[in-house]
Structure formats: C-alpha cells, structure tokens
C-alpha cells in the first residue's frame, strides 16, 4: 500500500514538472437565474481542439499553452457562450449561463454536454432527464426518479409498485444508491410504491451500469448517484404540490446573496387521512425531509452541509402491531482548490438505516429493532494535468456497524425475553487512482484501479460450527471473542477499471470497457424483492466478498446535430460468491443465521438498444433490452441426481426477464399544454410454482420440482399524462400547474405474484371437501387516474 502511494505521488510530481510553461483556465459554471452549479458543462477551445467538462461540483480546469483563445461554454438547455480569454498566466473565470427558454417551466439544471453520448469515454451510463421525467405520467401522480430508472435500458423492475431495480443481471442489493454521496440502504416508501427521492429537490441523477469509474466501489452492479439542488442563492423561492399520495413543500433562498444559500424541503403522505375517512384501523404515514446549506467562503473553499431524514410507519389494528423503517443521512463536504489545477473534495458522511417491528400484546408483545450505521470519510482529488490528462485519486474510509436484532418485551408478562443479537462491525478502506487520457483525436482512455481492503472487526463473538452448512442441524462447536478493532476476517481485492473510446467521426464512436467490482456489504434478501426487513451483513468468516467482472462493448451515434442519440451495447457479467439463502432457510430471529447463507455463481449477458430524442417539442426515448441471468449455488434449488446425491441446480434469477421494451415521450404542445406517454413491456418474471400436491396429516402441501421454473404472464401497461400551465402564469410571480395522469390506460391485469390456497368461493368459504386447490393471481393497479397540483413562487 505504501508503495502504491509513493508511485502515486511520483506520478503526480512528474506530471506536474512536465507541464511547466503552460497556463491554466479554471472556474465554476452556474445557472444565471438561481446560482445552481452546472454539472457536465462542455468547456471547449476550438483553436486547440481541446476541452473539458465541469465536475460534479461545477468546477472545471484546463491547462493549455499561453495565448488568447475563444472559449466555448455549452450545455443542454442553455445558451452557448463564447468568451475570449487572454491566457498569459493562470486565469480563474466563473460563468453564469442563461437558459435557452424563457417559458414558465422550470429550467433544467441537470444534463450533460450535448454530444456526451458519443465523445465521452464513459459508456453504460444514463443521465436522467428530470425535465422530461416531470412531464411523464407517474403512478398516483407522484413523480419518482426510481420509476424512471426502471425504464432505462439494461434495468429490470420486479413489477409495478416496487422501487427495487436490477441492473444487468445484478441483484437488488447490488446497486449503490447515493443521495448527496450518502448511501441510502432502502429507497422505498410503502414497500416501494414511491421512492424516498422527492422530485422537487433532485438536481441531477446518473446511473452507471458498466465501465464504472474507480472512484466508485462497494456494490457490484450499478451506482445511482442522486444530487439535490444547492438552493437558490439569488432569490427566495417556494415550491409545493398536493398529490394523491403525498403533499410537498420546499423553501430555498440566499442566506447571503451569491455566497450562501439554503434549501429545506418536506414531503408527507396523505394516505392516513383517506384511511381514517374510510374507517380503516390500519395507519400509514411516510415523510421525507431534505435540508442543505451551501456556503462559498472564497474562490478556493466551498462548504456544503446536507441532510436527509425519511421514515415510514405502518400500524395494524389500531396500533396492536406496527412497523417502521427509515433512512437518515448527513453529508458535510468541503471543496478546496489547492491550486489552479488541483481540486479536492473532502466529504464526511453518515448514514443510518433502521427498522422496527412492534406487537402490543400482554402475553406475546415485543419490540424488535435493527439498524445499520455507517460513517465514512472520503477524499477525492482531481488533478487537471493538461488537455490530454485528468488524474483522479483518493482515499475512502468507511466504518459500519450492523445491529441485526434487539428484542425487548413490551410488558412484564410477555413470553419474549430481552435478547440482543451479536453486533457486527466492519472497516472498509479504498485507495483509487484513475487517469482519463486523450491519446489522439480518435482514441481516449480511462484507466484506473481501486484497492479495497475490508476488515470484519471486533468487538464480537463468532460461533464456529462442526459443519456450518449441515442440511438440518448445524451444531455450535466453539466460539471466539474479539476485541474492539481486532480483525476477525480481512479481504483484500484489487479492482481494475478500463474504458476506451474510439471515435469514428464527429457523431459516432465505439466504446469498450472492463470493470471488476467487489461487494462486502450483503443484503440477505429472501424473496425476489428486497424488503426493508431484510438484514444487511458484512463479509466475514461465513460470507466472502461478492466479485463481479463485466465487459461491455458499445456503438454510439448521434443524428441530426445531436438531436437524436442512439446506442447499442452488449455486455457479459460474471459474478462469484453471489449470495442467497439455502432452501428452507430460517430467516427470522435466527441467531445462527450465518449457517443459512449460501454463495455461488451468477452470470448474465445481454444486448441493449436505445434511441433518445433530447431536443425539440417532442422528446422521448425508446429502448429494448434482451438479457439473461442465471445462478448456480450449492444448497439452493436442491435436486438429487440419479445416484441420490444432492446438488444445486442452475436456475434463472427471480428478476430474469428476457425481453424488455420501453417507450416514453413528452410533447410540449404549447406554453399551456404538455402531454406525456409511457409504455412498458416485459417478459413475465420467473416464479416457483407447484408441480403437484400431497396429503400429510390434515394439510395439503404443494410439491415443488424446480425453483423459478415457471413464468408469470407478460407484463405491460400504457400510461398517459397532461400537464396544464395556465397562461396567467406568464404574468405573475405565483405559478400554478395541474398534472392529470392515467396509469394503466387499458387496465391490464398485471400479475404481481401468484400464490396457492384451498379452493374457496367469493365469500372465502371452502368449496367442496377442501381437497381442491387453486392458484390466485394478485394484481395491484387497474386503470388509475390521478391529479396533482403544483405551485411555485
């Protein structure tokens, strides 16, 4: 590790020496109307055919031979600015960009350079167009970026009404979801009806599916990076909305003009009120709070503090039983400019996810809580060496504490006793370095490596078993006690990352990438869709790190002056130590849970086609994905061969959907009316259904022949929406907006799941002698209209 650091430093110093006698232009790019920094703005010097883009903090730096240049700043949705700058020495120039459109609709502050699809090295990445997302129909009218993520090529959803998503054959726990750099462990409200992301405060969102840069790690399949807005530092602004599911209000404004701003936003569910009105004795609430303070001390130092707090609470039978879960995050960031070319971001991040389950009963009452807390320190540096090289490197340290279960009896007489499961601790270090290098006009490379050093540490007690995976009876044989910070188990992995772009002309390119990803935090989800109650666990004596290798190849072409973006990508992903539970695993309240883990192989491949129209009155995207994902794990899907030996048979993962096609479109008819449409089709997901039944005592259990051996019916629905911006908006400060949407227009009965039971009539009475069984399909949403009213002033 020391050597690695020295090499890094040497490289760094050498490079600095090479670039003597040059001048550096740097600065920040901001939206002229509200002071939000702009991410991914193209900064281009035509005379040199050289350029760069702003980083996630809106900063850019470019080093060129001294001279006077016309510098072109361009960004989707903004007027291109050309500025003549005399670079005799280092120059700092921050630019405020004006929006193209002066319509009442909010200006998009997300995006990327117009031709990023073709010229960027990064492949397998999708940037959500939030402006478009807002115009599209949404379930219950609640704009949700996770539902849009589920529409992207290479992304599969488990079904409607869930926030879970599956990227290129990866499991639901293999996505790292970051909000302002803090990980969100469960992004669902109400089990997934909506996500925790309040669209009013989302500035930018990107999904990395492959060719993942070295600065990211910890999850195998994707990184979903969500950034919240900084807060308007020019004007005070209030925004809100009243929807079917929830109400929203956010306030932002300057603390000190152009220097400091704040954002405070809240969303709370309305459902409880409906339930009360309907005299239902179950209660449901959720809320989200986002806050942020943004402070620019001087040109060299900027600080951000952002926080998120969200919770769900569901109660049954007037509070006899209840559940809650929620995320809390805090991010403190410091952007520091060491010199014109060395930019540093230091973040201190805390994230906590917890759930609780409570049953109030004199004899059997208890409260069960579980949580996961992490604190991390990240230092990322970008060194803008010259127009051909941009070096990023850094160090991340994360400490995690896992509390699987703490059970407290709710009364003296409860049959439950106070129990606390062994806590688990982990330390994660990561060192990374990566260089983005332009070789010539055709070829650009991004190459890097991430060294991940993982330690499962004490304090803790680890039980040892005679045979931890014995079919029915793992017996504890011994135990070991570990002191604080003492290593229980360590895993060291080197993760190479490589990306290549070969330009075939101005508007087309070929890209290839390879990445290795390592995951040391595993979610032990039992079903296809992870629930908040599925515990997370660190790698350790019984769980090895999951490791994924992915190769991807893509062809990218833009048409008609970047009006249309097209891409085709193919990938192959191989995963070792993919984690599942053994057949018949006992998951609840099992102190020997580690004996129920099984690890094995997973492999996935697919092809993704996308055409995206980003400009004009009509915008939209059409995608088609063919993919396959299989798993083979000893102890899972157990079968016996001809000799009676048990083996784990290969099976399709529960989210293996072969064909997925999505079309979304938004049409700005005029200033007043905008129309949206969305259609999705996918092959039914695999499910395990019975092959027969038998009698035992008075029961009639099903016989199972194979895991995921059956497919549910195809899944598809069409949704439409209309957004009305009254004309009077144009002349007044207060702006109102109506959004009408219809979900599942032709009322397709999409199977959510299928279960079996004794055949019963509509009144739930058994038909006949009770020997007959039936399968039932649950579907969630028939045609579903909704109305949302939004305000802004």
């Amino acid at each position: 590790m020391i050597r690695f650091l020295i090499v890094t430093m040497l490289l760094f110093l050498n490079v600095a020496a090479w670039s003597q006698g040059k001048a550096t232009l740097n600065g920040y790019l901001k939206d002229g109307a509200n002071g939000e920094v702009l991410i991914g703005v193209s900064v281009y010097i035509p005379q040199l055919k050289a350029g760069t883009t702003t980083n996630p903090y809106g900063f850019y730096s470019i080093t060129v031979p001294p001279g006077t240049y016309d510098v072109v700043y361009s960004f989707i949705g903004y007027n291109t600015q050309t500025v003549s700058i005399a670079l005799t020495g280092d120059v700092s120039r921050s630019i405020e960009m004006g929006a193209e459109s002066t319509m009442m609709q909010e200006v998009e502050i997300s995006g990327e350079r117009v031709d990023a699809n073709v010229v960027g090295i990064q492949m397998s990445k999708n940037t959500l167009n939030l402006g478009q997302v807002r115009k599209l129909p949404a379930l219950f009218g609640e704009v949700d970026i996770l539902k849009s993520v589920q529409m992207l090529p290479g992304v599969i959803s488990a079904g409607e009404g869930t926030s879970a998503f599956f990227v290129r054959g990866g499991g639901g726990d293999q996505n790292l979801i970051l909000m302002d750099e803090a990980p969100i462990y469960d992004a669902s409200h109400l089990g997934g009806l909506v996500s925790v992301f309040n669209a009013d405060v989302i500035k930018d969102s990107e999904l990395y599916k492959g060719g993942i840069p070295a600065r990211f790690g910890g999850r195998l399949s994707s990184i979903l990076e969500v950034r919240t807005i900084d807060g308007n530092n020019k004007n005070f602004q209030v925004q809100g909305g009243l929807g079917t599911l929830a109400s929203r209000l956010s306030v932002q404004g300057p603390i000190k003009q152009d220097k400091a701003s704040f954002l405070l936003s809240g969303r709370v569910s309305n459902i409880g009120a409906y339930l009360k009105a309907a005299d239902v004795d179950n209660g449901v609430t959720f809320y989200d709070l986002n806050g942020k303070i943004n402070l620019k001390v001087n040109d060299k130092n900027r600080f951000f503090i952002s926080g998120y707090l969200g919770r769900d609470k569901i109660t049954f039978d007037d509070g006899d039983a209840g559940f809650g879960w929620g995320n809390a995050t805090a991010t403190f960031r410091w952007n520091h400019l060491f010199n014109e070319r060395l930019f540093s971001n230091t973040s201190l991040i805390a994230s906590r996810f917890d759930y609780s389950l409570e049953i109030n009963d004199p004899a059997q009452g208890f409260k069960w809580t579980s949580d996961l807390t992490e604190v991390s320190l990240k230092n990322d540096l970008s060194y803008f060496i010259n127009t051909n090289n941009e070096l990023t490197f850094g160090y991340h340290l994360t400490s995690r504490r896992f509390q699987p279960a703490r059970i407290v009896p709710s009364s003296e007489g409860s049959l439950f006793k106070r129990t606390e499961f062994e806590k688990m601790y982990a330390l994660d270090h990561a060192l990374f370095i990566s260089n983005e290098q332009r070789i010539n006009d055709q070829i650009s490379l991004e190459y890097g490596v991430r060294l991940s050093i993982f330690q499962n540490v004490g304090p803790g007690k680890v039980y040892w078993y005679e045979d931890p995976q014995a079919a029915d009876n793992p017996v504890r044989s011994d135990s070991s006690e570990y002191n604080r910070w003492e290593t229980i188990k360590a895993y060291i992995n080197l993760e190479p990352r490589l990306g290549v772009r070969y330009a075939l002309g101005e508007d087309k390119s070929i890209k290839a990438s390879y990445n290795r990803m390592v995951q040391n935090t595993h979610q032990m989800a039992a079903g296809t869709v992870p629930l908040p109650f599925n515990n997370w666990a660190p790698s350790g004596p019984y769980l090895k790190p999951q490791v994924a290798d992915q190769v991807a190849l893509g062809y990218f072409q833009n048409f008609k002056d970047n009006m249309y973006e097209g891409s085709v990508e193919v990938y192959y992903k191989d995963v070792n130590n993919v984690t599942d539970f053994a057949d018949n695993a006992e998951i609840l309240l099992n102190e020997d849970l580690s004996t129920e883990y099984r690890q094995g192989d997973s492999w996935a491949y697919g092809a993704e086609f996308m055409i995206n129209k980003k400009k004009g009155k009509l915008t939209g995207m059409a995608t088609y994905t063919w993919s396959k994902v299989m798993r083979k794990i000893d102890g899972v899907n157990q079968q016996r061969d001809a000799d009676g030996n048990v083996y784990g048979k290969t099976y399709a993962a529960g989210y293996d959907r072969r064909n997925v096609a999505n079309i979304i479109a938004a049409y700005d008819y005029n200033d007043k009316w905008t129309f949206g449409a969305s259609f999705t089709y996918s092959t039914g997901r695999p499910i395990t259904l019975p092959s027969g039944k038998y009698e035992l005592d008075g029961y009639m259990p099903n016989t199972i022949s194979e895991r995921n051996g059956y497919r549910m019916p195809d899944f598809h629905h069409l949704d439409l929406s209309v957004t009305l911006n009254p004309r009077k908006n144009a002349t007044r400060r207060f702006k109102g907006q109506w959004v009408f949407s219809v979900y599942n227009v032709y009322s397709r009965k999409n199977a959510f799941t299928i279960y079996t039971r004794t055949k019963r009539d509509d009144d739930n009475h058994v038909i006949g002698d009770g020997t007959q069984k039936e399968a039932r399909m649950i579907y969630l949403f028939p045609v579903l209209p909704s109305v949302t009213y939004n305000i802004k002033f």
Partner: protein, 290 residues
C-alpha cells in the same frame, strides 16, 4: 409474527391499496410427478401409532390423493423390538392407506424408532427419537377483548374466549414442541375458517424458555370444551414442520423465499415425515360466570 411481517409488504401494496385485487389463475404446463408420501407417528399413548402411505397427485385434482395399500411396513426400536404393521386392520373406509401395528404397543421416551416401508419396489427408511414431555400444568380461559371487538372468524362471533396454557419447560435441554388444539374433541386447523390449515410449532428459544400462560391456537365460546395437546419433537422433525409451515404460507417468492420441499427425515426422495413424540393432553370446559 411471520404473518405480520408478510403483511407489511403485502399491506403496503395490496391490503392498503383499494385498487389491488386477486383472482383465480389457471397454471398450465405443470410438470406433475407422482411420488410416494409416508406419514408415520409413534407416541407414548395407546392406539395412536400409525403409518400412512400415499402418493402425491395433480395440483388441480379433487378428492383424496391415491393411497398405497400393498406396502410392507415395519417399525423397530433400539431396545430390540420389531413391530409389524398391517394395512387397515379394521377395514374402515376412511382408513385406506393407513397401516397399524399388528400387535398394539406404546412408545417409550428415550428410545429411537426406525421405520422401513417397501412400496412400488422401493425401500424407504427413517428414524426418530422420542423425547420427554412435561404434563400440561394448567389451562385457564379468559375473554379476549379483540375477539369481542372483531372476531377472527366472522361466522362465529361468540368465540371470544382464549385459553392459556402453562407447562414446565426444562431449562437444560433444547426442546421442540408441536401444538394441536381441539374444540369439543374436533381438531382446530386454523384460527378462522377463512384460513387454510396452519401448523403450530416452536422451539424453546423463541418462547424464552418458558411456557407460561401461552394462548393456544383457536378461540372458544361458552360451554365448549377446549383441548390442548403438546407433542415433543426431535430437531429433524421440528425442522420438517417448520419447513412445512413455510411452504403452506408461501407468497410465491415475491417477498418470501421461493418455496421448497420440506427437509424430510425419510430416505429415497419420499415426501412426508416419520415422527416419534411423547404427548401431553389436557382440556377445560369454558364456563363463564353470567
């Protein structure tokens, strides 16, 4: 508790959503395979010993599954006894497929019993140990207010009494229990007629090493006789029942683990279980003070 956990997920999505519905779904292309099913019980009570041999059948078939009446069934124990079983010795129509010991016997706590069944030219074997059970110390009844407010079974609004059981739980051993309850001698299969039969099985860890005033499954009305039976189980048989209860309550793998066949203690891929249990029984008549 399991039930509540499952409800969260399904609640948020279905129970809560007035829009959610379910309807019958016809599964096609099911690969049905007929497999031997063996169910054997040895107890410490007279006349309760039996072995049932049948076959698994088609999911959509109605009526009882096919019985095997020409099997050879034998039980031995580790004290050197051999018991030969005969098919339906009393010729009851509803006992087809049931085998009884030719010479009645009573199982002994501490012994291990071995079962051998020959059927369809195959041999199936299993063994199980009979563990001790303490007698039920006390049964009490009381009004359950929740049942008064909202009865579990809407068809029987007078079933408002719950019955509490107390049994001494040995602290030095890890013990496993199966509960069955009776209403006027009739087995209670579920707390409500709207639910499919349920299994009530536990180990002593979950109950904190005590069985004090635990409500037995089912609710009763005034005048009824509530019967409670508690069976000792070995760990493999406990695991079998726990697995069985999982597959009976499975939601199709959306939130539950995908269903799997229970881990059986019977060899050669037969379905079913061979169980040696000591049984304690007690009953109480619900006589409410007017």
């Amino acid at each position: 508790m399991n039930k509540y956990i499952k409800q969260t997920a399904l609640l948020a999505l279905t129970a809560l959503l007035v829009t959610a519905c379910d309807e019958e779904y016809k599964m096609d292309g099911l690969k049905t395979q007929s497999t031997v099913v063996i169910e054997g019980l040895v107890t410490n009570l007279p006349t309760r010993q039996f072995v049932k041999v049948s076959r698994s059948g088609d999911f959509y078939a109605s009526g009882k599954t096919e019985r095997i009446t020409n099997a050879t069934v034998q039980v031995t124990d580790n004290a050197g006894n051999t018991y030969t079983y005969v098919h339906n010795p009393n010729g009851h129509a509803d006992s087809v497929g049931y085998y009884k010991p030719a010479v009645p016997f009573i199982g002994q706590v501490g012994r291990t019993y071995n079962l051998t069944v020959q059927a369809d030219g195959e041999t199936y074997t299993a063994s199980d140990e009979m563990f001790h059970i303490n007698p039920i110390e006390e049964l009490e009844f009381r009004v359950d207010d929740d049942q008064v407010d909202e009865p579990e079974d809407e068809d029987f609004p007078n079933r408002i009494y719950e019955v509490l059981m107390t049994v001494e739980e040995p602290q030095e051993t890890r013990d496993y229990y199966l509960f069955r309850t009776y209403r006027n001698g009739e087995r209670i299969w579920a707390e409500s007629s709207e639910e499919d039969p349920e299994i009530y099985v536990t180990d002593d860890v979950l109950v904190g090493g005590e069985i004090n005033d635990i409500a037995i499954p089912g609710y009763f009305e005034n005048g009824e006789v509530a019967g409670a039976e508690i069976y000792s189980l070995s760990r493999p048989v406990f695991i079998y029942y726990r697995d069985l209860s999982k597959i009976l309550a499975n939601d199709g793998g959306m939130f539950d683990p995908p269903p799997a066949n229970p881990r059986s203690n019977i060899s050669n891929n037969a379905y079913g279980v061979f169980q040696a249990s000591a049984i304690s029984y007690d009953e109480i008549r619900i006589e409410a003070a007017e």
